[in-house]
Every structure is written in C-alpha cells, then in structure tokens.
Amino acid sequence: MTGSLSAQNLSVRYETPQGAVNALRHVDIEASPGEVIGIVGESGCGKSTLVTALANLLPANARVEGSIVYNGTDLVGLDAHRQRMLRGDEIALVGQDPMTAFNPVLTIGDQLVDFQHRRRDLSRGQKKERIAAMLARVGIADAARRMASYPHELSGGMRQRVAIAAALLTDPGLLIADEPTTALDVTMEAQIIHLLRELRREFNGIIIVVSHHLGVIAELCDRVYVMYAGEVVEEGGVDAIFHDARHPYTQALLACDPARFHDRLERLPTIPGTLPSLLAPPAGCVYASRCDRAFAPCLTVLPPKVTVSTRHAARCHAVAA
C-alpha cells in the first residue's frame, strides 16, 4: 500500500535533567509516492530525530507537537499497538550500521523469516522463497548459502544489502534509509547507491534518504530538505538546491565540500563558528551567529519561509529582502 506523507509544523523536544532540548522545530515535510526525498545536514541538525519521529521510534522523554500524516492517518498520538502495526507493514527503516540491526546469534535466513511475521497467509517455505527472490533482487548471488550465514560472516556492503532486502520484504510504502552508506567504503557506497537507484524504478512508495554526504544526496534524490540546528532552512528540487541555493547555510555547506573542486585548493573552505545550543535556541534565525549576510531582524525575528519558485523555499530574511 502506498500513500503520501505530510509532516506539518513538527517539533520534537527531549526532556533532560539539563532542560528541554529543542531538537526539531516547526518542520514541514511533504512526500508523494514514487519520490526520493533527501534530508541533508551536519551532526546535530536534527535529521536523525526527524526520521525517528517519522518511524515513531522516539525515546520516552521525547515530546512531539504538530502532525505527521501518512496515508490519511495522523501518526502523532497513535496508540502503541497501531504504531507497531504501521511500522511492520508500512514503514521500514534501514540504519547506518547493519551489523547492529541483526541478531548475531541467528542466521540471516531465520531473521528474514521473522521480518515477515505479519504475513500470516504465507507458510515458512513461501517466506523463504520470497527471501531468496528478494536477496537476488538486491544483488546477492548465492541466496541459499547466504541465508544460512550469520551476520558476522558477511561484509559490510553485503549486510547493508541484506538490511535493504529485509526492509523491502514487508512491502513498505515508506522506506527510510538513515545514512545508508556512511559505514561503507567508496566502492561499496557506489554499489549501494546503484542498488537504491535500481530499486526505485520498481518501488512505488516513498524513499527518504538521510545523509551528511552531499554526493550521495545529489546522486540519489529528487527533492532535498536542508537542515540546520533542528530546522529545515531550505527545501527544493535537487537541481535547485545544488545549482540555485538561496539560504546562506546551504550555500556555505555546498562551498565546503572538497569534492566540488577539481584543482588543488591552498585552503579548504570552512564555516566558522559553532552550532547554537538547542537548550535555548536563538529567538531569530538559527544560522544568524555564523551568517555573513545577517542583519538586525535576523537576531530577533524568526525568518519567514520565502517561496523562491514552485516547491523551492528558504527560511531567510536576506532572501525575503
């Protein structure tokens, strides 16, 4: 089953002994079936909190405000049982390190059978057939032998393929890949990007790719959300973000990527300054303290969401001016 996803004015706060950490603030996300959405940002920008909120896996000290509507159902405030039903059937998550996603004392085959526990209509044999077909689809050649292997017997790239297969076995409408290539070498990364691209041709659900790696986002996604300090600062089509970025943070982030420069640079570009504290986020723009285009209102007034063109918007006073 597939449906569209829409998060409106979503905020997440973690209650800690030091005070409330405002990890996510007024975030709007839209995604329709067939789209690959990229979420890009550096550490501490809230991208993990966002996907954990979408998958309903936030820890107990998290307070959620706003709405996440998936396929007509508001996920915020759904009872635990129905949340779990949705996760098993509709929403699948592929994590950063596939080693921790699997149980080390069970074979891959047994675990992939368990992933299908909600399919009461299938026998164990049928489930194994589905697994063999799915493993072949993610590019694992000798599926029968691999099903008898334990997770530690597979390489990192192979484990990530199995994790993707496990996610797809539930026929999800929403597949979230959180830093799917970060733990992998460049040649394995290329293979996983290639695999995700191939899969999207047949997969008609939503794929959300979270990464700090601009190259991965550019190679994979249709639309991109750029996050900074818990907020979405810019959103737009992948071409608009990489070639017509308007928010000073997006521009600075792109300028920092050494992969963009062919000739040797004497000095690598950086973004001076540090992230604001999320215990007391600034009243105005979150990026103001590091922004070279900041002016008076940036420090006190929350920047408006400025529409640049259809589906391209930036939260910035300087863009509005």
Binding site: E42, S43, G139, S155, G156, G157, M158, D185, V186, T187, M188, E189, A190, Q191, I193, H194, H212, H213, L214, G215, V216, I217, A218, E219, V238, D239, F242, H243, A252, L253, L254, C256, D257, P258, A259, R260, F261, D263, R264, L265, E266, R267, L268, P269, T270, I271, T274
Partner: protein, 352 residues
C-alpha cells in the same frame, strides 16, 4: 636530496598463531602477508597521501613505519639511518608523531588536556620546566584557548579533539607526522579546519606528513604525492594532481570514478564497481585486483605484475597500465559502464 623516510620492500606477516595455539598444534601455520613488498619514500617537508579501502593495510603500514607493528621483512630508514632495533625505533619516534584515528578514544578520559599534551615529552624524557605553560603554548599553536588545559577529553567537540590530537603530535617537534584518517567522522564544515591547520603548521614548522585516508575528495587538496594501496600492496604512486588527472592503475581509476559527485547534473549512468575487496587470507593469484578489474586479461590471473617506473615520477603495478589516451584507457571506459554480469568473460573475447 635524501628522503626523510625510506621504506623498502616492507612486509608484515600475521597468522603464525599465538603461544597457546602453537602449543596445541605445533605444525607451522601458513603466514599471510598483510603488507607485502611496500616501497616508498617521503622527502623532507612533503605530504604523502596513503589511500585505500578498509582492509587495504594502510593503517598497519603507518603503524609498522613507527615500529608499533613488527615487520617481517624489509628495511626502514629515517633520516638516512636504518631503523632496525627497538632502540632505533624509540629514537625515531622521538622525532616523529602519530595522530591516531579516533581522537577522543586516543586521549585518556581521566587525564586533563594539559597533562595529555605534555605526556609525549615526559615519555621521551624531554625536560619540561613548566608543564602547564608548555601545554598552553601548544594549545595556542592549534588555535585553542588556554583554559582548555583543565578540561577533560569528553568536554571537547570532535573538531576540538582533533586539534588537541594535532597539538599533542607536535609537542615533540616532529620531523614526520603520521595522521591516520585525520578527518574521519568530522562534518564537512569542520574537516577543512583540521586540514588547514595541519597545512599551516607544516609550513611554519617544516615537517613532512603522511596522511592515511580513504577520502579521495580531501586528499586531492592536501597531498603532494599519492600512494594507492590494495590488499597490502601499493598499486600506484605519483604526484597527486597527475594521478587524479590520468590514473594509470585500473583500481585508482575505479576509486576516482566511484566517488559520488555533488552535482545532480553530472549523475553517472553507473558508478558501480563489481565485487568486493578480497580477504588477505585468500589473496587472488596473479594480480590481486584481477577479480574486480574491468580490463583484466588471462595473464593477470596467473602472473603478478612488477612495479613499473613510468614517466613523471610515477610507478604502477599493472600489466596493462592506462596511459593517457591509449588503447587501454579506451577499453577501460568501454568496460566501465553498467556490465554487472560477467564482464570478465566479455573481456576475454576482446581481440588482444
């Protein structure tokens, strides 16, 4: 000019088993060369980038150079003196420093930054009249406030911990700095900071550096020369810009091609290299890269290629190096597009 560091035919072997396993089973086990016949030189003041995927042996090579891993064969010379005994290595380590991969893990959590910074000097037996003052000078050198002397490692951010790692490495005034993945785990906006700092200090203090990394995008901007490793052997060396512009070894070419490009208008139809890096315990015969090479020939499976010296101070270990505009390069780009099937067999039918 004589090189500051010269490594010749260096090999590291593992797999002979420990004391207990030898006691239980006295039959000798076969040894596996995790570093095999590595030869390289580092000139004073030069920056060498040592690049390879995980399991290629690049960290082991760096550790062997400093004597932290025992070499099975080969020769290391530092400043024209052969380094053989543990006394030699100690003397060498007094003038060289290592930045370890995980900066937070390599700093003891129970010691304050001030103590950590001057620890190398104490270990080396250098007389330090005022440890606090020395630590403050070192902190200033890497652009950190003097108040950091009283902090503990867990109070630092990833970027700050790296800076402390740099400061600590520099405390012994090294002539050689070995940095193992100095930017792993750092955000793009911070990684430039650490590399700029190393480059600046290098200019001011004039040491040579060897940077071990898998990050091609970064090494292109910070190294003068590159050495590419695969399964414990060097496959290509040469000036950085030349290697990037015209790689000679098919592995180097594939690595450069695999790097995702941060530009949606330049998406490649295919960026997949087939197969995975084999285990050193099952090193393929002949050229170790033949199992993944898009232009492998029958000869590559049986006969190991020797180092070949190429024009422009480059070396390559390949029977069919890609030469600019040559036949092999064309064959490589023909073979690289998406043939996930049995590319190997197709190549064999290609008229030689």
């Amino acid at each position: 000019m004589t090189p500051l560091l010269a490594v010749e035919d260096l090999s590291v072997t593992i797999g002979q088993g420990g004391f207990l396993s030898r006691l239980l089973d006295p039959r000798p086990l076969p040894g596996f060369n995790i570093i095999d016949g590595v030869t390289l030189a580092l000139m004073p003041g030069e920056t060498l980038g040592l690049v390879g995927e995980s399991g290629s042996g690049k960290t082991t090579l760096a550790r062997t150079i400093l004597g932290l891993v025992k070499a099975a064969a080969g020769r290391i010379a530092f400043d024209d003196h052969e380094v053989r005994t543990s006394v030699d290595f100690r003397a060498m380590r007094r003038r060289s420093a290592m930045m370890f991969q995980d900066p937070v893990a390599s700093l003891s959590p129970r010691l304050r930054i001030g103590t950590l910074l001057t620890e190398p000097l104490v270990i080396q037996g250098v007389a330090v009249p005022d440890r606090r003052a020395t630590a403050k000078t070192l902190l200033a050198q890497v652009g950190l406030p003097a108040s950091f002397v009283d902090r503990f490692p867990h109070e630092l951010s990833g970027g700050q911990a790296r800076r402390v790692g740099v400061a600590r490495a520099l405390s012994v005034k090294p002539r050689l700095l070995l940095a193992d993945e100095p930017t792993a785990g750092l955000d793009v906006s911070v990684q430039g900071d650490v590399l700029n700092l190393i480059a600046e200090l290098k200019r001011d203090l004039g040491f040579a550096a060897m940077i071990v990394t898998h990050n091609l995008a970064v090494i292109r901007h910070v190294s003068d020369r590159l050495a590419i490793m695969y399964l414990g052997r060097l496959v290509e060396t040469g000036p950085t810009q030349d290697v990037f512009d015209a790689p000679m070894h098919p592995y180097t070419a594939t690595l450069i091609q695999s790097e995702p490009v941060p530009d949606p208008r330049r998406r490649r139809a295919d960026l997949a290299i087939r197969g995975e890096i084999p285990s050193v315990f099952r090193r393929p015969p002949g050229c170790e890269f033949h199992t993944r090479c898009p232009i492998a020939q029958p000869r590559c499976r049986t006969e190991a290629p020797a180092y070949r010296h190429m024009p422009g101070e480059r070396t390559v270990r390949c029977h069919f190096p890609l030469e600019t505009g040559g036949q092999e390069r064309e064959a490589f780009s023909r073979a690289s597009p998406n043939h996930r099937g049995n590319r190997h067999d197709q190549m064999e039918h290609r008229p030689a």
